[in-house]
Symmetry: C2
Subunit: 325 residues, 2 copies
DNA sequence: TTGTATGCGTTATCAT
DNA sequence: ATGATAACGCATACAA
């Protein structure tokens, strides 16, 4: 038994095809007709065919979401929140994990286009990503151009906040640690904010920025160079991500430096153990829910053109045990 | 400028519509024609409309994936792996997060059906889930019935392995800790395997199983009851998940019990910090990649009927610092 | 081997 | 307000 179509429902209900369509789409129709159609739908267990619908109308209620992966808890939670926001608006989500592969990302954008998605939410660091006209696209964390809205957290402010918190907690000599691709400029804003606050506060600081390919041991070497008689030159370290902070904490432990007594550490992201338990470290928390909600708002909005080209969401500080306060 | 259709390509290339369709679908066609069509496609930047295609043909290359959420690192990694396996076969993924809501799960199954997905991979603990005929569905971790293939890890074997490893490492008095819904029977297999191994090895054991609503402190109370003069009755604890093990480790630390010297702890899942760093604890590792690959294999296979109704994948033990070996 | 014509299930535009 | 009918873009059986 092939799946019933509107035609079958119409025959079953003894009404015309168009009437069924109206009932299905909530368009007003005679009370008696409506009931008959609804009963017929129930009896036949009819379900609308979204392909036929998508072909005819332009709305598909499908949004493509592109992220590097779901292994990283930050991305995972982001996608989780986006999924919820989307579901609340009756949108479905087509998910693409790009694994940071530029070619794949481009491929997926085209795929999304041919899937006739109503929009794309993408977190990509591909500098050359070609964005097809006609499909609303919202970018997370990466600014492409004025006509591609970007939503991100206030990385600059977060960097400032990190420095301020460290100083507030008594630190007098700071370090900023970062690893990652040179192409990605958002993390650099964290650095810029950090530097700006250090200078405003008149606190000395050191930057250690290593490239993506560089092994982690570069940081160990760096820290060891700054270790004299069991005492570290720095009493406050700001790491560009919680993940890095977590690694650094391990290294500090190996060096027998007590945290937060001798060195205080702040990360960035606000990632939690098992997704919802304790923080890994004191950190600057990204407002993931807000980012997700904002993206969904924008991408499902009719007029993406008149959307702001950059939305910067406020971050907050959270004490996670690796700072004094 | 509306998007070009096959008709436009045909006109541009000076061939018939059918010829374009053949070229697009890789059906042999005269060399000269093929080239002309491909050039026209390139010129017009034509992309096939998957809704029209989906309407016409029955394959949509869309698979629906349903999981409770992506916050839990286990689910996140699972979805990540499924996404990869799917992509490798040119399938797209429609993602639904159910938040353990039975009603939503049912709703999503219907949605998937109307989206004409080629199959559904679902991780649901809904005992009454109605599975529509006609859409291949593969279940993860939950056995529905013989005609719904289920793939899961060897929970029973994992339970055995945990007990064996603890005993192998010198434990003489074990405990099994579990929290969760009574409805979910897979974790009970972990318990059953654990019990079976304990009895085979002649090692005394205690079970502490609490209900989903119960606060975590029930475990703290339990442990404190078994603490005499700073010494715990148990020297080996098997926790039903890594997440629980993680919490228990915190409690043991508060009780000033040294791990693994005084008490050894084994979790279940094999979850890692930040998705890819160190383990949280010694653990029984679920073969997530294999589970994902198996699901994708089965759900994309033509004849799901002749698939085995239960595939049980082997787990492994991994030392994560909370056991002696 | 290439072209033509029909229909997939729906929506929307018409008359009625 | 309801019913008939023409697209939507593509695949395919059939004719050339």
């Amino acid at each position: 038994m092939p799946k019933p179509t509107m035609k079958d429902v119409a025959r079953e209900a003894g009404v015309a095809l168009g009437t069924v369509s109206k009932v299905v789409n909530g368009i007003p129709v005679g009370e008696e007709y409506r009931v008959r159609v609804e009963e017929a739908i129930e009896r036949l267990n009819y379900r609308i065919n979204s392909y036929a619908k998508g072909l005819r109308s332009s709305r598909t209620y499908l949004i493509a979401v592109m992220v590097p992966n779901l292994i990283s808890p930050f991305f995972a939670k982001l996608v989780n929140c986006i999924n919820r926001s989307l579901a609340a608006r009756k949108y479905r989500m087509l998910l693409f994990a790009t694994d940071y592969d530029n070619e794949q990302e481009q491929e997926y954008v085209y795929l999304a286009e041919q899937q006739k998605v109503d929009g794309i939410i993408c977190l990509s660091y591909n500098p050359n990503l070609i964005i097809p006209a006609g499909v609303p696209l919202v970018s997370i964390d990466r600014y492409f151009s004025t006509n591609v809205p970007c939503v991100s957290s206030d990385n600059y402010g977060g960097g400032r906040l990190a420095a301020e918190k460290l100083v507030e907690n008594g630190c007098r000599n700071l370090a900023f640690l970062r690893i990652g691709s040179k192409l990605v400029n958002e993390p650099n804003k964290r650095k810029d904010g950090f530097v700006s606050a250090c200078e405003a506060l008149g606190v000395p600081y050191t930057l250690k920025i290593i490239d993506d390919g560089t092994p982690y041991s570069a940081f160990e070497d760096f820290l060891r160079e700054h270790l004299h008689d069991g005492k570290l030159d720095f009493d406050g370290i700001f790491c560009v991500t919680d993940s890095l902070a977590h690694q650094i904490l391990g290294t500090l432990r190996d060096m027998e430096l007590r945290v937060p007594e001798e060195v205080q550490v702040i990360g960035f992201d606000g990632v939690r153990c098992f997704g919802d338990m304790e923080l890994y470290c004191s950190t600057i928390v990204q407002p993931i829910e807000d980012i997700a909600a904002t993206c969904v708002d924008m991408v499902t909005e009719k007029d993406l053109d008149k959307a702001p080209s950059l939305v910067c969401l406020p971050v907050t500080y959270a004490q996670g045990g690796t700072t004094k306060g």
